[in-house]
């Protein structure tokens, strides 16, 4: 599950704000999500753990990925870290929310709706609710929050944490 928080509700000194630094210190592991993030944000292709193919067909070192794409890969490969997406453009933010099913991010509530990028369900936690649909998440952020959401509307459920003895 990808956890979302808003930047006016988080102590930014306690989270990762430099997405480039996080990426540089991340052991690169290729998987379908990494490939999708590179394709969605860079319009490029994963090649190997050192280079990618950019939109013009050139093979470039991964350090030449955009900051937004590095942030996205950093989120996906560092589920234990909370990463501030302040440097992410809207396309990178939307790719992260659509394609990352793990990790934790802090975003700005800029009133710009998140784009739905495919027909797959998302897996996002916000305020203790699980969202499986981008449009339902947008409706909650823009029209319901901070009040209690309508749980009858499809795409949202309360997360119940089970604690063991």
């Amino acid at each position: 599950m990808l956890k979302i928080q808003f930047d006016d509700e988080v102590d930014l000194n306690t989270i990762e704000c430099d997405a480039e630094k996080v990426f540089d210190n991340t052991k690169f592991v290729e998987d379908a999500t990494v490939r999708t993030l590179i394709k969605s944000i860079e319009q490029g292709e994963y090649f190997d753990d050192v280079v990618f193919t950019d939109r013009f067909g050139h093979q470039l070192y991964l350090e030449n990925l955009s900051t937004g794409c590095k942030a996205a890969i950093g989120v996906h490969l560092n589920p234990d870290k909370t990463i501030y997406l302040v440097e992410c453009g809207l396309n990178a933010r939307d790719a992260i929310i659509n394609y990352c099913n793990t990790g934790s991010v802090v975003i700005e509530d800029n009133a710009i709706s998140i784009r739905k990028l495919n027909d797959e369900n998302i897996c996002v936690e916000l305020d203790g609710y699980l969202f499986t649909d981008v449009n339902r998440l947008n409706y909650y952020i823009n029209d319901e929050r901070p009040f209690k959401p309508d749980l009858e509307r499809k795409g949202i459920e309360v997360i119940t944490y089970v604690t063991g003895d």
């Binding site: 430099d18 013009f56 050139h58 030449n64 900051t67 992410c88 453009g89 809207l90 396309n91």
Partner: protein, 125 residues
């Protein structure tokens, strides 16, 4: 304004003023930063600054007061608010481009700009 090298031609289709790039990743802003740093080294009257310059202890004021015709502040969200007084003073004397997703309150009035990148060119308009 035409700049650049045989490898990468740069066109700045803007008059003097303060401009902020659109809120999109992977458009070529950091490539433009790298090209401008290279062009400055080759003697062009341009300047560029990024977060790593700050981490290395280089003052943003040096770049803003350099008298360059084109100045780019890349990754400004990471040093948001730095140099705003000087930005306000110089914004009509050069083309000042800022890569910034979250606009700081103190930033003077600005216009939006777009960047178009091809394999061998970058155009800002």
């Amino acid at each position: 304004m035409l700049l650049g090298t045989e490898r990468c031609k740069i066109t700045i289709n803007l008059t003097n003023g303060l401009y902020v790039f659109g809120n999109k990743s992977a458009t070529g802003k950091t490539r433009l930063y790298k090209e401008l740093v290279k062009l400055k080294a080759y003697g062009n009257n341009v300047a560029a600054y990024t977060f790593n310059d700050k981490l290395l202890g280089h003052p943003i004021e040096d770049v803003l007061n350099s008298g360059a015709e084109v100045i780019l502040l890349d990754r400004y969200d990471m040093y948001s608010g730095d140099g705003v007084e000087i930005i306000d003073q110089i914004k009509d004397k050069c083309v000042l481009l800022i890569d910034c997703k979250k606009i700081p309150d103190k930033l003077p009035d600005f216009e939006g700009c777009t960047i178009k990148m091809t394999r061998d060119s970058i155009e800002v308009s």
